[in-house]
Subunit: 111 residues, 2 copies
């Protein structure tokens, strides 16, 4: 995808994960797979786990360890009240940014 796209993910990936977790509790391995399904095929596993650790440490999610039939126990993340606030703030910021950029692009057509 190129370096440019990587930079663009910064600050956005966290919002994406919060959004996914808000749909239903989920664990890292599962989230990684869903990201691929959703078209974010270049996001590597290590990065996903790093973000999950971060949002856990910030208290945006509750964590529960659940045994798995195949493999190590899963860390299942659930969005809590703080996480929902943060997600709402993310969508707000995103809307703002997307709006400005859309305007810039239409002003810019043909260049």
């Amino acid at each position: 995808m190129g370096k440019q796209a990587t930079e663009m993910l910064k600050g956005i990936l966290e919002g994406i994960l919060l959004a996914i977790i808000s749909e239903r509790p989920a664990y890292g391995y599962e989230i990684t797979a869903e990201l691929r399904e959703r078209g974010f095929s270049d996001i590597v596993e290590g990065t996903v786990y790093a973000v999950l650790l971060r949002i856990e440490q910030r208290g945006l999610v509750d964590v529960e360890k659940v045994p798995s039939e195949k493999g190590p126990p899963r860390k299942v993340y659930t969005l809590n009240a703080q996480g929902r606030d943060s997600l709402a703030e993310f969508w707000g910021n995103w809307s703002f940014l997307a709006g400005r950029l859309e305007q810039l692009r239409t002003d810019n057509e043909g260049n």
Copy 2:
């Protein structure tokens, strides 16, 4: 705007500047003012100049020094062929990202 918004700008600010310069040649001080008009009121001068320096060093713009009536000479930036390529790539990446996020948001409504 908060830290979250700052992180979101990464990789995007550069595209914004390229887009502005693509409309017509411009210099830093002017671009800073236009950013404020366009609603990006929290982007500080120093950051703008840093990005301009970067895109200059990458050869995305041509630079011309033009004397000013009031104050030091202006560095007027013009988008060149490479810059136009980079801008196109930016819009491509942006479209992709915005599309995925929009989908995520609609899937997510009510959470």
